[in-house]
Subunit: 266 residues, 2 copies
């Protein structure tokens, strides 16, 4: 999504040119290019798919809507397996229209995970609950903290349900570092994602994730937390940013790789 302006073949080619061996994919562009075609494209290029984004939206009360969401999540699990990734990121969903019951919504997510976890396991896929910043609690994700995500995940085996650790959503929370340790000890950090926090936030607060190094987050500090927790998996940079999307995609990818080296691993 960081460079959604690139076609799937251009994205894969740009990754190969930049010596980026791993890529996280979103369902919409995969569907647009074709699931099997995407799987072949990345495989032939020698790329590993780190995660598929995203399943979730599991908070509906209406039975038909709920059944539809579960079916869609099973499809997402199938797609992840076809793409060769073992991780499906879940964005849990917000409050149903008119509801003010965050607790009830969180319980419905647990109910859905009880159905989806075993299905995912049979397909070799792990579900990674992503706590989203509290500013999304009403309309996008009622799971706002890593603590809440782990409280949900720990009702299930770690190879079925874990968490996504994303700096953009967690950087403000002084409880997140000890929760990363808790997640790591249980083998539940299924993916680690980076985006920087820049202000002012844009209207709707969806597409203001800052390029690495442009904002308030100390990326090395957070990399240190997941490493200290035993995490050795891939690190995704996931930026939703109108400014970056308006630029040449290959240039943005190259810049992102340079920022990653400078602010994360150098």
């Amino acid at each position: 999504m960081t460079v959604k302006q690139l076609s799937m073949p251009d994205l894969v080619d740009a990754c190969v040119q930049l010596d980026i061996g791993h890529v996280g994919l979103w369902r919409e562009p995969v569907r647009a290019y074709g699931l099997e075609a995407t799987a072949k494209l990345v495989r032939d290029a020698g790329l590993t798919v780190t995660t598929l984004c995203r399943g979730g939206f599991l908070t509906a009360i209406d039975p038909a809507e709920r059944a539809g969401a579960l079916a869609d999540n099973r499809r997402a699990i199938d797609e992840a397996a076809t793409l060769g990734t073992d991780t499906l990121v879940l964005v849990s969903g917000g409050l149903p229209p008119g509801s003010k019951d965050l607790r009830g919504a969180r319980e419905r997510i647990a109910d859905a995970l009880a159905e989806l976890g075993p299905y995912a396991e049979r397909h070799g896929v792990r579900l990674a609950i992503e706590p989203l910043h509290p500013m999304y609690a009403a309309d996008r994700c009622v799971v706002s903290t890593l603590t809440q995500a782990l409280d949900l995940a720990e009702r299930f085996p770690a190879h079925q349900v874990g968490v996504t650790v994303d700096t953009y959503h967690l950087w403000w929370d002084d409880q997140a570092p000890p929760q990363i340790a808790r997640a790591g000890a249980a083998g539940r950090i299924h993916i680690f994602q980076l985006a920087d926090w820049t202000t002012p936030l844009p209207e709707g607060v969806l597409d203001g994730r800052g390029q690495i190094g442009d904002g308030s987050i100390d990326m090395r500090e957070w990399k240190g937390y997941v490493e200290a927790a035993g995490y050795t998996g891939p690190i995704e940079v996931e930026l939703f940013n109108e400014g970056l999307w308006a630029r040449d995609g290959r240039e943005v990818l190259a810049e992102t790789a340079r920022r990653f080296v400078r602010h994360v691993i150098a």
Copy 2:
């Protein structure tokens, strides 16, 4: 601030007409009308000033900037005393330019409170640290949760430093209800404020606080938490909302009073 389009005399008159006996004031309109003149106006009308908003912005590293902030907060304490309110609300301040150190910023707030608390006490004023929603952590307030606010406040006597409980900032946090109990047990809930959470958030996320009843927050639930914690003080409705500011101020105040009756106390 809910009806900042009203002049001070019109605000006071509208409160009297609507049988609203208490009003929370902000420093800027008080200064514009004159401190002594405002004090006389509200006193003559029989109104009680619940709080003065706001002091704070105590995170600067630069010594001159820091000294300026402390001096400004002493003035705010003087103003609160002159207006006859015992509570000054504090918005702590964000990260200094270029800083990524939330912990350090929070420690500087504690240092400032050690200087301001005794000064406030001598003037009969309590400081009320307001945790602001985590979406303001970088640019406005590094104190994002009631837990953090209480951890700061508890280093000082309760009659010097307590907290502001505002539904808009805390509604998403499942740790806030037990923290309200903690605050109440220590006599540290210095003011209770209401605003509703509506989406989409506007650019800059400052002026999108919803009218009571328009959003995702169960106001009775939160009133129940502060009451169960022993709070018997005033309840402020504090809305920053471009849509409400564009309307007739008396009409908005009357609507707000009706919403308060319907969604909070009926």
